[in-house]
Symmetry: C2
Subunit: 184 residues, 2 copies
């Protein structure tokens, strides 16, 4: 049972946002711009950063919902998503993405945990200022989304396939609330 009265059957963040359209509008526009706007980081890479941070925050809904979308964009399997969450250094992702995930992990612990060495390493391997900016902001944003979802104890389906099955449709709809209908 969520801590506040929410409409039944709307999973995760969509529950509280459904009762607060005034908040949902700018917040979904922010997510759309950050996660899906024009960017040298692909949508799949950005969703992977979001999934990784949500996993570190142990937010089941965000981890599964964004993991499903990352899997859809990257055209990979569930095992690959799990391996990135568990030990991204041992996966076949680019060195640049590894350096960005390292920064994201520091942001998850707290902004001050990011070190000059991490930033230098990312720049040396080709990360741009904008990619570093977006990585820090994506990681920070999911520290918000994860806390919003779990701090209200929102409901979420426990079956992983729920998220994988809806990912394609979710990716087509995007994050803007105005244009979105519940895919399930």
């Amino acid at each position: 049972m969520p801590y506040i009265s929410l409409p039944e059957g709307i999973p995760g963040i969509r529950g509280p946002l459904s009762i607060r359209p005034d908040i949902a509008k700018p917040l979904s526009e922010f997510a759309e711009t950050l996660m899906r706007g024009e960017n040298s980081l692909s949508r799949g890479e950005r969703e992977l950063i979001a999934t990784f941070v949500s996993s570190l925050n142990e937010c089941f809904y965000c981890e599964q919902a964004h993991g499903g979308v990352a899997q859809h964009y990257l055209q990979c399997d569930t095992d690959f998503i799990d391996r990135v969450k568990e030990d991204y250094q041992s996966t076949a992702i680019s060195g640049k993405l590894k350096s960005l995930l390292s920064i994201a992990a520091s942001v998850q612990r707290g902004g001050k945990h990011v070190t000059e060495t991490q930033i230098e390493k990312a720049k040396d391997i080709g990360a741009t200022d904008r990619e570093i900016h977006d990585t820090v902001l994506i990681a920070a944003a999911f520290c918000m989304f994860n806390r919003y979802v779990d701090g209200l104890d929102t409901w979420a389906p426990r079956e992983r396939n729920f998220y994988i099955d809806r990912a394609k449709h979710a990716a087509e709809l995007g994050y803007r609330v105005e244009t979105k209908k519940e895919p399930s």
Copy 2:
């Protein structure tokens, strides 16, 4: 020196937002709605929650900037703001606000740290669902803002009076970027 190239002399979150108007617009609209929109929690109370969370995250810029604005709205002195950050239970704020600050402190640690007992206590003392929702989201949002500010190692003036002196003007301007000019 910030980790990425930012215009000099623009403090805290305003630095990175100044180079990303596409992000600044929805994010500032979100802050305006959450922190200054119509609400049974006063603007001062909401800024106090933001200041408290920023203090727990040890984000100097946000702690000072929002502490200054809270002080302006609440027409209190700097000592009062400090006492709330250090030991809010011993201050003269309402029991309801104390119960909400307790929830905010849990959200700062992570969404799952909020307990049913905390929520029940807040409801028993008169907190509405909406006030609990907004407290959780304000605390979560500042876990994002604090990480964004510190994760990029942004510049901020160290003199506390800088923030106190600009608070009145900052409160008049609000958070929307379109209508805002730097107050200093």
